[in-house]
Symmetry: C2
Subunit: 328 residues, 2 copies
């Protein structure tokens, strides 16, 4: 069997067998970050993401933005656990004819994004490679009892998401199809959301203090990431299409591109918003009082046997298939 | 300026400016591993190494051996700090047509080497890539006051190395030139030393308990790694060619290949032995009583103004140029 037949998530499941055991592991392979023993009263979080030229970004990508994004997507994994980032080890593979100024800009981006969260780059590796490869391994910490996992969602919980969804996917569409007619302000905002995700660290910390039962960051797309929560928690879900927080900007792009805005919002990845569950909540859009982060109730956790479904505005329920980006 | 002009070590020096600051950093970029705050009475060690197909290993490399080596070289960095490895995050970039069995074998190797040291793989990333890229980020721990740095060598200290040097380089020569006539036993032993390095964890821990003043693992080769100790410590060094622990196996390969065994031992990398300094010691080869590791006194730390030199058997001193592998 080849990797493309097994699929990315099949592979991740398979690799759990190689995890090994050791005292101090609270949560290993399969969440946004691993949770291991930390200093007294704290847990250490540990995550890593690899970005590859031609797969995650185009060869001409602005190196500063690339550095920021590489750090931001890791910070987002720490945020989804309710933690704050601390120390990073950066591995960079790069062709030897690369201008030093390009490497400088990548590191300036990594540094700026890390500094934004008071995290530091303490080590790593620089090696020759045929194409640019950037791996960030990031540590974080969260207080004991304040760690958000994917596995805590219970039947009856409400499903919520911070801010809007689909912005990053719409931004990517605008980058790929510059001929689409949308106002310049829309283009600018959405492209920035795609290039420069903003991890929801403060919201994650607030949610971890007794508010959320489960959380994940939206990297693969709502459909795929909701599936992760449901699988880890052993539950099903119903999402209300009418309640999805889709911005007017995204609707404008969907219209210009001839796409359904709900499909775009559900399948588009890289929003790096937080998808989370709460024990029960009133409908609508609210604000987390501590961090001031806006969030919207978009559905409900149901029994696993009901699967994961989307309720259309006319009440029809249809299976929500995970159609986000897959590596294999 | 291009990376190949700046050079690998020039690049690493340059990247220190992007380190950033944060409470809890004891040693950042520039040692075998970073040293940060850990649980009470302990330090956390953090290192990462990226291996790239076609650069660090040939496309046909046995995947199990590759996995073992990728973990072992990181464990070796932890060993050089006097620590023991704890948790790893593994990032694997791989073409989608790769057989799943090949990925399994890489992870089996990673797992077996981690398990050998009671370390566990707790997370990571699997992504599509044009060629195989394997990054291991590894945590370790060492007790406060028992961390070995590159920067502690003092004038008058003796320079020592564990076991033998040049074996891995000789093994690589035998792989690249299978026509060389050496006994089968020699070929087998040296190729294994190249493919399957054995990190010196027990020796590192023992050295960290008040024996060594500085240490590094031999990845770049004796000349290059000694330079790192000298630069970090602000000292010079004299190495006695006559005292280098060069095995009969390596001498046999040097003879068959028409190479000088001393040059081979000094410039050859990837032995993953420990190079360390002690306050003063009798000459010769000894055994660390705790770990049973053999080591040999090979030179002396001198004033920085004397540079880094090799004393030939006839007493002549010549500059020891760092001729190990460089990425840029």
């Amino acid at each position: 069997m080849r990797l493309e037949e097994l699929g990315e998530f099949g592979l991740i499941d398979r690799l759990r067998r190689y995890e090994g055991s050791r005292p101090g592991i609270h949560t290993g392979i399969g969440d946004d970050a691993a949770v291991v023993a930390g200093r007294a009263g704290w847990r250490t979080l540990f995550t890593a993401d690899m970005l590859v030229e031609g797969v995650h970004f185009l060869p001409g990508t602005d190196p500063y933005r690339l550095g920021r994004k590489a750090m931001a997507v890791n910070v987002s994994d720490i945020a989804a656990m309710g933690g704050t980032p601390t120390f990073a080890a950066v591995s960079l593979g790069v062709p030897p004819d690369t201008p030093v100024s390009r490497v400088d800009k990548i590191y300036q981006g990594l540094y700026d994004e890390a500094a934004r969260w008071q995290a530091a780059i303490v080590g790593g590796d620089t090696v020759r490679a045929p194409a640019l490869v950037l791996n960030v391994a990031l540590l974080g910490e969260a207080q004991e009892g304040e760690v958000l996992l994917r596995s805590g969602a219970l039947v009856g919980d409400r499903i919520c998401v911070t801010n809007h969804i689909g912005d990053a996917a719409a931004g990517l569409i605008l980058l790929e199809r510059p001929e689409l007619a949308v106002p310049d302000g829309v283009r600018e905002r959405l492209v920035l959301k795609h290039l420069c995700p903003s991890p929801r660290v403060e919201a994650g910390r607030e949610l971890a203090r007794g508010i959320a039962t489960a959380a994940i960051d939206l990297s693969d797309g709502l459909a795929g990431d909701l599936m992760h929560i449901c699988r880890a928690s052993g539950v099903g879900a119903v999402i209300d299409a009418a309640n999805l927080p889709i911005s007017d900007d995204v609707r404008a792009v969907a219209q210009a591109a001839g796409l359904d805005p709900v499909s775009l919002a559900i399948s588009g990845g890289e929003d790096y918003e937080l998808l989370f569950t709460v024990p029960s909540y009133r409908q609508g859009t609210h604000v987390l009082p501590g961090s001031g982060t806006s969030y919207t109730v978009i559905g409900e956790i149901v029994d696993a046997r009901e699967g994961i479904r989307l309720r259309l505005p006319d009440g029809e329920l249809r299976p929500l298939s995970a159609t986000g980006f897959r590596h294999f």
